[in-house]
Symmetry: C2
Subunit: 243 residues, 2 copies
DNA sequence: TCAAAAGTGTTCCGAATACACCCATGC
DNA sequence: GCATGGGTGTATTCGGAACACTTTTGA
């Protein structure tokens, strides 16, 4: 790098030396979705430092110089939740000139789906507070984070219609009505129970277990799990997952 | 900015001053799609400078410090094609540590759809050569541009099933069989002519004109155009465009 | 025995499919 | 007239929507 005049490495027609373009900050922000009793939630942190001190924000961090974007997202998620193998996906880059008060910082937006029962998010040195918020009832957010969440929700809603990501929000073993609840929350749409059941089962990607719910004041529901192997087989045969 | 120790503006737990993170380059790359007689094409440039001199690449440029991402994409497209109001859309950020030989450069990928009859792309100072390539027959590409194109194609294929973007690849006035050709090329799938016709017309977003083809050695086809206003109305009533 | 949710079956309707067929033009 | 693609109609099949009904548990 440096001043060896490598301008026009790109299309650029002004003759700035290459190093003069290395003025951008880069961060990754993660919209973490969870599901709890009928509604979709987002995990937010309360910032412990300026700018936007005390504001609620989605968790994120600057990308390290030797770190790929996905690694960065994974690091943030693991750090915050302590969980490994979380489902996450990049969905959009946000780069408005004035989106960050301190300098030109581009952020790469990821969304992530977690089984929210699995852990308790905890506050730490960089966040005074960590809390789940219903997506229908979000506080005012730092930076352009409202925009980021809105875009994440739109992307997730599209995703969920073509790929079986709903399972990521449930425990390993779940009932069909729980699954229906997840889809209803994701799509803000009600489904007919018998029809939802038939449709899901006809896709052949969830398998019944020899187990049922316990301690419920009604007929206990059979438990199922998602058969990822089977799904991958079907996908290769060009079968789609539409809801 | 500078050395006023504004670390932990983000989650970062190492105590680097903020300015030390401003080490990233940022570029925008545009995958420009066109359609010609049954096949989908991509517009590539042949690089006139190192690195990857003489290699084929997708057009792109470094983002200016005071320029939003979409503006940057628009600038590149207008510059290259001379056309205004081109359809384009951001689809993915590429940021592997080693994707650029000169430094850490993140690129934001856009794809764009153009009516390829409208203009002749021309070579210029930054590109020795500009040429359309069939997507089934691409040359070896600079940087990670093959990966970028592949991802663009996947994204476009998803998009085209839920939003009426196929029209962007055709002239204002088109025949139904031309439209069918576009969709067949986009989805690499054959459609039944009468059924395609019925389905498209039942969506009420294309309107017949009082014009027909001329100088064809068969019954001349009626011309249609896309009714964007009508589409927006329908979209607000939550009607989807599925093919 | 009653409430509550699990789970099944059946009917109806509309949309997608598969095809057969006719029409207009240039040569 | 005939080749070529434009354009229409219909019978069949399949999947989704609506909804009535039975089953199993705890209290």
């Amino acid at each position: 790098m440096g001043q060896n005049n490598p301008d026009r490495y790109f299309l650029s027609e002004n003759n700035l030396p290459f190093a003069d373009f290395l003025h951008f900050g880069l961060s990754v922000d993660c919209v973490i979705f969870g599901y709890h009793s009928g509604s979709l939630r987002v995990l937010l942190i309360q910032r412990g430092a300026e700018p936007f001190k005390d504001s609620w924000a989605i968790p994120g961090d600057l990308v390290y110089p030797d770190e790929d974007l996905n690694n960065s997202a994974n690091r943030i998620l693991t750090h915050l939740t302590g969980l490994k193998n979380i489902y996450f996906e990049q969905f959009h880059a946000f780069g408005s000139v004035d989106r960050h008060p301190v300098g030109r910082v581009i952020t790469i937006g990821y969304y992530s789906l977690v089984r929210s029962e699995n852990y308790q998010p905890v506050a730490s040195m960089w966040a005074k507070n960590v809390k789940w918020f219903d997506i229908e009832d979000l506080p005012k957010l730092a930076f352009d984070h409202s925009e980021i969440i809105n875009k994440a929700i739109l992307n997730l809603r599209k995703k969920v219609r073509t790929e079986p990501v709903g399972f990521e929000l449930l425990p390993e073993k779940f009932t069909l009505l729980e699954l229906q609840g997840v889809y209803e929350a994701l799509l803000s749409e009600r489904f007919d129970k018998p029809n939802f059941r038939k449709k899901i089962l006809s896709m052949n990607v969830i398998t019944p277990l020899n187990e049922v719910e316990t301690n419920v004041a009604h007929r206990p529901a059979k438990l199922f799990n998602f058969d990822k192997k089977r799904y991958d087989e079907l996908k290769n045969n060009e079968i789609t997952f539409e809801l």
